[in-house]
Symmetry: C2
Subunit: 209 residues, 2 copies
């Protein structure tokens, strides 16, 4: 089969070993191959411009920016870019953000190779390539109330071990307001105290330690 009919794939991941594994899988299929690789978000954007791949496999954790940011930048220039997020499980919030940002698929690095090539084929064909178990996991929290930006900001300070008073000073608001935010945070996350709120938020990918 000539290269012209193959699905041209760009792999973005800062782990060389993982890139190697992805390349081995993709190149072993007759209908697709890796045309370029990138290790950072900036590199990904530049490489996309240069090669215009059919499908991008994008890691979420990159040295210079989030994979979602890189995704947004690529789609700002090329609205028809087809990007599959490929990551170790981060929590459902990341998945939602990625899909909102225009990702066509979301795949875990722990997935079997066949699922990866299937997703590439699906996305290239114009479908959405989201495995059923991920979709199920997604549905579970879809209706959940999201934290507001301010609430996330407060929660980050809480995770740092700041007292309400300190957070108030840093955000130039009153301690009472911080308490209100924290109350809402705990209510939304179903946490009984600030500590559990942080734990849940980390698990869900809302904040990272």
């Amino acid at each position: 089969m000539s290269d012209g009919s193959r699905i041209r794939v760009l792999s973005v991941d800062d782990h060389p070993l993982m890139r190697e594994g992805i390349a081995a899988i993709v190149n072993s299929r007759p209908d697709m191959n890796i045309v370029a690789q990138a290790a950072t978000g900036a590199e990904a954007v530049g490489t996309y411009r240069l090669h215009r791949p059919d499908v991008v496999l994008m890691d979420l954790r990159l040295p210079d920016m989030s994979g979602i940011d890189a995704l947004v930048r690529i789609r700002a220039e090329f609205a028809d870019a087809r990007v599959i997020i490929l990551t170790t499980f981060e929590g459902d919030v990341e998945i939602q953000r990625a899909l909102k940002a225009g990702a066509r698929g979301y795949l875990l690095k722990s997935s079997p190779p066949d699922e990866l090539v299937q997703a590439i084929r699906h996305v290239h064909a114009g479908k959405k390539g989201i495995p059923s178990h991920v979709a199920a996991h997604l549905a579970e929290h879809m209706s959940d109330e999201d934290l507001t930006e301010r609430e996330v900001e407060v929660l980050r300070h809480v995770a740092e071990g700041n007292r309400n008073r300190d957070i108030a000073e840093k955000l130039f608001i009153s301690e009472e307001t911080v308490k209100v935010h924290l109350k809402h945070i705990m209510d939304k996350l179903g946490a009984s105290d600030r500590t559990q709120a942080v734990a849940i938020a980390v698990r869900r990918g809302i904040i990272q330690l």
Copy 2:
């Protein structure tokens, strides 16, 4: 070069993509090759018995047990087993535990491929294969006081959002004792409150959410 003179490597990782990448790297060198792979701890032990590889590349997170447990089991049967821990960064506590358990090397999955093959050669030659930056990171916390088992147990309950009183009941001790443990925990970790203690412990790999 004949197979007889090659370093025989066993790769243990539950991520097929990562296994593929490791295999590609190792098999691309003339002096080593992958003789077997395993996706679980139990599988790793069985496969070791069968193949007696020269070097084992062991992931820390496995479906059935910790990579450290698998390492311990292998070394219980084969005291001269040479195992390199290969993992995404988990926190320095894991590194220490792995080395104490007899790991000959500790490598991050984000390492460049050359570092991996170097580590394999070093360990096979009888040396310890620990990259300098990992060693440096290790030294930083070597002198740090470790939490006792009981303290870790208490901290886990704290991370779940339990109040001191609840923790006391669950552990069949008084609330005052819980407070004492928590005081020691915060002192050792340098945390100002229970929330930061949990955050630090998660970063250091002492507990996992």
